[in-house]
Amino acid sequence: MRKGLLYISLILVIFYSVGPLLWQLITSLKMDYELTRIPPLLPENPSLVHYIAIFKGRMFLRVIANSAVVASLTTLFALAIGSLCSFGLAKLATRYKALILGFVLSISMFPPIATVSPLYLVIRSIGLRDTWWALIITYTTFSLPLTIWILTSFFRELPDEIYYAARVDGCTPFQSYYRIVLPLSAPGIFATAILVFIFSWNEFLYALTLTSTQASRTIPVAIALFPGIHEIPWGEIAAASVTVTAPLIILVFAFQRRIIEGLTGGAVKG
């Protein structure tokens, strides 16, 4: 009886969590004339017209490519720069360790709206507006606090003896970072990578201000500014939403455990 109640509540929770996305999926399969009547809830003739429409003209493909490049390179740079810093903080003798971590944490609290206009002016003046690099530099920096916090706590868990042994065997600090510490913390690095990737894939405010054409426009901006001639093209928006959410759902299902480790590691161990 109590088990039954538990499973019923779990089903309700799942329905609440994925219901809106499910409705978007159903909407994306409806023909236009079906969108403006309810009931029925389900499409009578499920059709892929909206999916075909968004991929026509290559605009949407270009936008997806922009997002993929920006998010991947951001992840790469944030992990490279962040893991170096975390290694220094966790394994080397550093003065002001607590101060640096506190400084990094306080930066993660900065409201994006406070930094967006000066960054816009600078990026415009150095000619990087509407390029991938404008976003990559910005995202890398704003991912650093999270990266540094998670990785520092992961690196600290590695016994210092391993590091000393490597040094005694003649490794330079960099070699011991590269050959010993990095491989041993692969799970933590992977967890951080997923979080940074999702952050960059989803970010909106900087993308909205720093990009202006499809040369660098990312998915969230494209969806927010979805072109409609007379009325809002709900079917196409739904198809686009489902398409760009699919990779994230795959990430969540494949790496649920890592994501949770990253989320709680960043918040708790600090």
Partner: protein
């Protein structure tokens, strides 16, 4: 090479980047807030605190501040209650835990812009599924009362997973012995929750409150895409107002003053929470 010298080389790149892309803009935005700067006319003159004085008399600013505070208070408390309920549920023993957790994480992973579009369609007054399921005829996003609450409901849906996951991690740290001991002493489920669970996850609740309050106070995407601040500015938050002034009417000086106010508010909230946490630690 001494270890401390090496450390500098490891840490420097991150700190330099942070200084250039976050600290410098903050200083610059404060500088801009003291100017009257209109990009289209090429006007830029020092006006001291005039922007901030103007702000005090700007009804739209006070409205946005009120909306932001209301949004933050309601959505954070909603997320906390729902997130705690979800965490307690997921902490029970059942099969398929990984599957349920992944399902619950989905709203967190969806881009805010996409969830705003999804909810905009569900809120649609004529063909929205919400009115259909509830049997109502509410114009959710066009009604001055409902629009802000519609944005809050969406935000609660989107961020409850984050709260639930953190609280679940807190719950899992509670030693099971404590529950058995309390049960032997005759405590029922309510007293177990009140006297064992709640005190032990209080630190985690505080952490969640900090993260979520700061995030909710900065809210931009959710509101900007869902309602654009309308109808009649009833959903306009500080970040949305600042964005419009900065990038739509291009009043860089006044917009920067608004941005500085958001920065100060967020700083005050953070300091407030750190004060509360510090005192808790001191009592222990």
């Amino acid at each position: 090479m001494k270890r401390s010298e090496a450390a500098t080389w490891f840490i420097a790149p991150a700190l330099l980047l942070l200084a250039a892309v976050t600290i410098y803009p903050i200083i610059h935005v404060i500088y801009l807030s003291l100017h009257r700067k209109l990009l289209i006319f090429g006007i830029s003159e020092f006006v001291g605190l005039q922007n901030f004085l103007f702000l005090l008399k700007d009804g739209r600013f006070w409205g946005a501040l009120g909306n932001t505070a209301y949004f933050t208070a309601l959505s954070v408390s909603g997320e906390l209650i729902l997130g705690l309920a979800l965490a307690l549920l997921m902490n029970k023993a059942f099969s398929g835990k990984g599957f349920v957790r992944a399902m619950v994480l989905i709203p967190w992973a969806i881009p805010t812009v996409v969830s705003a579009k999804m909810w905009e369609w569900m809120y649609n007054g004529d063909f929205g599924i919400l009115n259909y399921l509830l049997g109502t005829k509410v114009n959710w996003l066009g009604d001055p009362f409902w629009a802000l609450h519609a944005a809050i409901m969406m935000d609660v849906w989107k961020t409850t997973p984050f709260v639930a996951i953190l609280l679940l991690a807190g719950l899992q740290l509670i030693p099971p012995d404590l529950y058995s001991a309390a049960r032997i002493d005759g405590a029922g489920p309510f007293r177990l929750f009140r006297h064992v669970t709640l005190p032990l996850i209080k630190p985690m609740i505080l952490i969640v409150l900090i993260f979520r309050s700061l995030d909710a106070f900065r809210v931009f995407d959710a509101v900007y895409v869902l309602t654009g601040g309308g109808p009649a500015n009833t959903t306009e938050t500080l970040s949305v107002y600042a964005y419009k002034v900065l990038f739509q009417t291009l009043q860089i000086g006044y917009g920067s003053a608004l941005a500085v106010v958001v920065f100060i508010c967020v700083g005050l909230i953070a300091i407030g929470f750190i004060g509360i946490m510090g005192r808790r630690v001191a009592y222990r």
